[in-house]
């Protein structure tokens, strides 16, 4: 995973709540067995509508998505994160994220910055009044800046540290292999195994 410290890019106002992962990438795009190339499925149904924000010129190259509450609900598909990142997004700002989506994003280096809904509204206004405006997100300082508007965002300290360092979770866990083996030896004997009886 690439370390993430600060990102500046065009902000995209997505005035919708409950953007579920079926909207981020419909199931028909999940059939690939590779890890790349999911950008064509991003918001596939909405992108067929000319008026959709990503079809507007300055927003086409956006990299900071500013969305309504409950972003990423529904299916656990990590493809939603891959699709956003393959398209070019590095940050999603929302007042509330679904748990699984937020976890997946943290594993892939997509920053999910949680702001107050009032801040989201302010960002929407700024980005709509002047399409193409940049938003700067600083993970060290936990701040979001758009023109003169500056606010802070929430992210848990552990995910922040992992993102800043670009650390791989599996390698971190494997440092504790002995502890895992010790735990395994203490599991109750009645617990099932999947090997056929």
């Amino acid at each position: 995973m690439e370390p993430f410290s600060k990102h500046t890019g065009v902000g995209v106002p997505l005035r919708r709540s409950n953007v579920d992962t079926d909207q981020i990438i419909p199931a028909v795009y999940l059939k690939r067995v590779t890890r790349t190339g999911f950008e064509d499925g991003l918001f596939a149904a909405w992108r067929s509508d000319e008026t959709f924000v990503l079809n507007q010129e300055p927003f086409r190259n956006g990299s900071v998505l500013v969305a309504g509450p409950d972003f990423g609900t529904g299916s656990s598909r990590e493809h939603a994160v891959w699709a956003l990142m393959d398209y070019g997004f590095r940050v999603v700002i929302s007042s509330r994220f679904a748990d699984i989506f937020r976890g997946n994003a943290g594993k892939q280096g997509l920053l999910t910055a949680q702001c107050e809904q009032a801040d989201v509204e302010q960002l929407w206004k700024l980005l709509e009044n002047e399409p193409g405006t940049d938003v700067t997100v600083d993970l060290n300082e936990k701040t979001v800046q758009c023109k003169d508007f500056l606010t802070t965002f929430d992210i848990d300290d552990y995910t922040r540290w992992r993102l800043l360092e670009g650390l791989d979770d599996i390698a971190l866990t494997l440092r504790h292999s002995d502890t895992i083996a010790e735990f395994e030896a203490s599991r109750p004997s009645y617990m099932p195994v999947t090997t056929p009886r």
């Binding site: 709540s17 699984i100 976890g103």
Partner: protein, 466 residues
């Protein structure tokens, strides 16, 4: 202070307590795998030269992509076929038990696990699928994970996780005839919203929950994720033990007694404190249906399509406006007047034997209305076989419904079972998102009883309308 059920299961699985902001490292007792969310995880293992730590705690099946007719033939869609073949190759390479298409145990991953007796009280269960919450019905802590986490569990049999908060959902009273577990969970989601359970493990408790069968409990826990909760749980009791006893992977002999003794401890202590509590009275409940494009947009079937102007909250009002535009519904229309052209009975929410029985009882001696297509898709091949032994397949076929093979099918339309643009379904599945069942398709979530009655009348209905 006592502990909640969720806290007990959590504490029993901590391999390593996190220091400071660090999450706990939790041991995973059972890892379920399917074809859609696993290929990139196996690829990751190969790239890093890692093995699967515990293939004997891992099991796979094919469900999301599989066709439900002509299952003896190669899958026609080459991309779906590649995904299924990739799972087969990966399972062979890493030594994982797989139940492929055509196998007696094949089916939706959340139907397969419990029917094999692999899901047991007090376990941690994960799968790259958000409806893993289903297994919480046994008093297990079960939750969906992303592909990176799938790879993590394959490599280490653990997951770094931050502790959840706990929410008690107290369902008092007694369900009236014709009202089901599906109506309970739709009412709960309508009450707390799609984000209401975010960050929590839900524990469903109270008289109405205790009275439910295991299959009905699975329906409730299944949709916990639709309220934003990663997991939902129900304390195990005699109903749980009776369901498990004698299943292929349940403990036997002295081990069974030992297990049951341990399982009896798995309940929230009387003095345990939940971070939040929600109350619902089952006495007052009537069949629920959704009118919008998220599972929280539901109402009793006796109501009318709401007017967005009546929503005080600006975000909810906008969401309702967008939902009604997508659903092509007018405010004030009685929900009972909404016409459907498709009825889908199946999915990990309502694709079990009891669900099929309930629908068949309504359909017996009746016909699916003209212009309505009804798909009946059992949750597993074992459910299908059991239903056929009872003659349920004949009831469905005589009524004019299609009797299919097992899989996720039209719940998410990754196989050919999809709605066409503008088509409208009454569906026993779990998500009414835009395009979920096919691009441009419109979904109303319902119970199996409402699905069957709707098939007969052609408009959203409950059995009492017949």
């Amino acid at each position: 202070m006592g502990k909640t059920l969720a806290e007990k299961v959590w504490d029993a699985h901590v391999v390593r307590r996190g220091k400071g902001a660090e999450p706990d490292l939790l041991y995973i007792d059972l890892h379920l795998v399917h074809e859609v969310t696993s290929p990139q995880a196996f690829d990751g293992l190969r790239l890093a030269g890692r093995k699967v730590r515990r293939p004997d705690l891992t099991i796979a099946t094919e469900d999301h992509n599989v066709p439900t007719i002509g299952i003896e033939l190669p899958i026609a869609d080459p991309v779906s076929r590649t995904q299924v073949e990739t799972l087969r190759k990966n399972c062979a390479e890493f030594g994982i038990r797989l139940h492929p298409m055509g196998d007696d145990e094949q089916g939706i991953v959340h139907v397969m696990g419990p029917q094999l007796g692999l899901t047991q009280p007090g376990m941690t269960v994960v799968c790259g699928d958000s409806h893993t919450s289903t297994h919480g019905a046994f008093g297990a802590m079960a939750f969906g994970i992303g592909t990176s986490e799938v790879e993590h569990v394959l490599a280490t049999q653990t997951l770094p996780l931050r502790r959840f908060k706990t929410m008690a959902i107290n369902v008092s009273g007694k369900l009236r005839p014709g009202v089901t577990a599906k109506d309970i969970i739709l009412a709960i989601i309508a009450k707390i919203g799609t984000g209401g359970g975010q960050g929590y493990v839900l524990e469903y408790r109270g008289e109405a929950i205790e009275a439910l069968s295991m299959e009905a409990r699975m329906t409730i826990c299944n949709m916990s994720i639709e309220a934003g909760a990663r997991a939902g749980m129900i304390a195990p009791d005699e109903t749980t033990f009776a369901y498990l006893k004698g299943r292929p992977h349940a403990p036997q002999g002295a081990e069974w007694d030992k297990a049951v003794a341990a399982w009896r401890q798995l309940r929230s202590d009387d003095d345990a404190v939940f971070d939040a509590e929600v109350d619902l009275n089952a006495d007052e409940l009537t069949p629920y249906v959704t009118w919008g494009t998220n599972p929280g947009q539901g109402l009793p079937l006796s109501e009318r399509v709401p007017d967005p102007a009546d929503f005080a909250d600006e975000t909810e009002r906008l969401a309702a406006e967008k939902a009604l535009a997508y659903m092509d519904l007018k405010p004030g229309t009685p929900l009972r007047d909404i016409k459907v052209d498709t009825v889908f009975l199946g999915s990990c929410t309502n694709g079990r034997l009891e669900d099929l029985r309930a629908a068949a009882e309504v359909l017996a001696g009746r016909k699916v209305a003209d212009g309505v297509r009804m798909l009946v898709v059992p949750g597993s091949m074992r459910v299908r076989k059991a239903a056929e032994e009872e003659g349920l397949d004949k009831v469905f076929k005589e009524a004019g419904a299609e009797w299919r093979a097992a899989g996720c099918s039209m719940c998410l339309g990754m196989n050919p079972d999809q709605l066409k643009p503008g088509e409208r379904s009454a569906s026993t599945s779990n998500r009414n998102f835009e395009g979920r069942q096919g691009k441009g398709g419109r979904t109303h979530l319902v119970s199996p009883l409402v699905a069957a009655a709707t098939a007969v009348r052609g408009t959203l209905s409950s059995p009492e309308d017949l």
